[in-house]
């Protein structure tokens, strides 16, 4: 990543060895009222690993990501990110976490630059390098020529690129992507692909949810299929051919939907 100095978050309580999982979920239960969404989910994502989370609508993908980002409380179970326990130690996680969701999480009436500058201030990036960092990020996502345009005027693809710049502005160690391809056309999706691969993902631990099986497979080290509130199947992409994934997916989730 860029050589800019970013805030150095407090060191994790556990030494960050390659073997210790960065994201660690054990027996996670989340219920809305009497309705359980996640029922004892276990998941581990190793340091530097890219995991794609697949699953039908309502299987709890977004809920899991909201819990991992500290936006939602688990009903029961253990959730750790970078060794910090959620939700009790969410403050420690936040500084090292970047999130891209299907909503852009940007301000319509501010310009691209103003948006990034605002978040740079929230993330306490050093004042002297803040503007350079923002300019560099805009350059990287290919929006430097639109830096002074209001976000309202951006296409969906451009908004999503800016959202990625916002998510990695503070150089987070962990990146959560919640259906980043939603609403993008072919070109924009291909561009996002390239951007994720070249800029966003390298050196980070990534968990992405998507409905796009092929893209999910191509980007990830491992795919996990979420069904009935649990990880129903998990496979490394180097042992699972992309062509086999749709059949496997239908098999794993189909069993759940035709009950």
């Amino acid at each position: 990543m860029a050589a800019q100095d970013t805030p150095t978050p407090t060191a994790s309580p556990h030494a960050q060895s390659a073997s210790a999982p960065v994201i660690e979920v054990r027996g996670l239960v989340k219920t809305f009222g009497l309705y359980p969404v996640l029922r004892g989910l276990d998941l581990e994502v190793a340091h530097g690993e890219f995991v794609t989370l697949l699953g039908p609508n309502g299987s709890g993908k977004t809920t899991l990501l909201r819990i991992l980002s500290g936006l939602a409380r688990p009903t029961a179970g253990v959730v750790r990110v970078g060794g910090w326990e959620l939700p009790a130690e969410a403050t420690f996680v936040r500084a090292r976490l970047g999130v891209v969701s299907h909503l852009p999480l940007l301000y319509d009436t501010l310009t691209a630059e103003e948006n990034l500058l605002f978040f740079a201030r929230l993330y306490n990036l050093p004042k002297e390098t803040r503007r350079e960092r923002v300019a560099a990020m805009l350059e990287r996502v290919g929006l430097h020529h639109r830096a002074h345009d209001v976000v309202q005027t951006f296409s969906r693809g451009m908004q999503q690129r800016l959202a990625i710049a916002r998510a990695i502005l503070h150089d987070p160690a962990v990146l959560l992507l919640d259906e980043p391809y939603t609403g993008l056309d072919q070109d924009a999706a291909a561009l996002l692909d390239r951007l994720l691969r070249e800029v966003a993902v390298s050196g980070r631990t990534v968990l992405m949810t998507t409905h796009d099986l092929q893209r999910g497979h191509a980007l990830a080290d491992r795919v996990a299929i979420l069904s009935r509130g649990k990880i129903a199947h998990s496979a490394r992409t180097d042992t699972l051919a992309a062509a086999d994934l749709p059949a496997l997916y239908a098999d794993v989730t189909g069993a759940a939907t035709t009950r």
């Binding site: 009903t75 326990e85 969701s101 999480l105 201030r121 993330y123």
Partner: protein, 246 residues
């Protein structure tokens, strides 16, 4: 109606608690959020325009409906002033937080390494500025239309204290009402009864000041207003964390 299992006890080992929390300095966050709201508002003028227009119309309707003569104007002007400020304020408050929630940007704020209460004071400060602008426009308007001079230092103090209390409770309650069904109706229903101590004290103090009453007639109300402000500020500071968590 639910039977959720009890939340797990969340014990944090002492050694870990001692670690420095990577949190952005408080005032910087408050400033950044207020600046952001102000910047966006200066560009779009969405809130201010609708609030000021609403204010204008309300004042016109009041003067038509009440058919005020010179004397009546003197005694009712404070009431008209505060009722209009509160209604225009509710209009602005509802929009300010609804916009954050619907665009998902509230999540972006909650993801940042900031204190929740700093987020509250940032939003509150922005709202306070908008309400204050409306209140000042209204003061000028009433001075001209009602021919009662409202530019009086003591009155401006009351105006400041009143709008502060209102924005504090308003920001807290509007961050709850955005999650409710029929939220446009919910905000005034929640807000009005609670903000009443502020409203009544402000109206009583304003009337007493405008009618040149002795000190003993307006000072207690200003004191009550200040006490209510402090109570609400402390309450909101403590409670806002619980409102935005999920």
């Amino acid at each position: 109606m639910s039977a959720e299992p009890k939340a797990e006890p969340r014990a944090v080992p002492r050694a870990r608690r001692a670690a420095r929390r990577p949190v952005t300095p408080y005032l910087r966050v408050v400033g950044a959020i207020a600046w952001k709201d102000l910047r966006a508002e200066i560009r779009s003028r969405e809130l201010i325009n609708s609030m000021v227009l609403f204010t204008l119309m309300t004042v016109l309707i009041f003067s038509l409906a009440l058919e005020l003569d010179k004397e009546a104007r003197q005694t009712t002007v404070a009431g008209v002033l505060w009722v209009t400020v509160i209604f225009a304020g509710i209009l602005g408050l509802g929009r300010s937080l609804a916009a954050e929630k619907d665009r998902g940007s509230l999540d972006a704020l909650l993801l940042a390494p900031i204190d929740r209460s700093a987020l509250f004071f940032g939003k509150m400060l922005g709202n306070l500025l908008f309400v204050l602008v409306v209140a000042l426009v209204l003061v000028a308007l009433l001075t001209v239309l009602f021919n009662v001079s409202l530019f009086e230092p003591r009155l401006l103090v009351v105006l400041g204290l009143g709008t502060l209390g209102f924005s504090t409770v308003g920001t807290l309650l509007s961050s709850m009402s955005v999650h409710a069904r029929a939220r446009e109706a919910m905000l005034p229903i929640l807000l009005m009864p609670v903000v009443l101590p502020v409203l009544i004290s402000a109206v009583r103090a304003s009337t007493a000041i405008l009618e040149q009453m002795p000190r003993a007639d307006w000072l207690p109300w200003i004191q009550l207003l200040a006490v209510a402000d402090v109570m609400f500020l402390v309450g909101a500071y403590v409670l806002f964390d619980y409102v935005v968590e999920e």
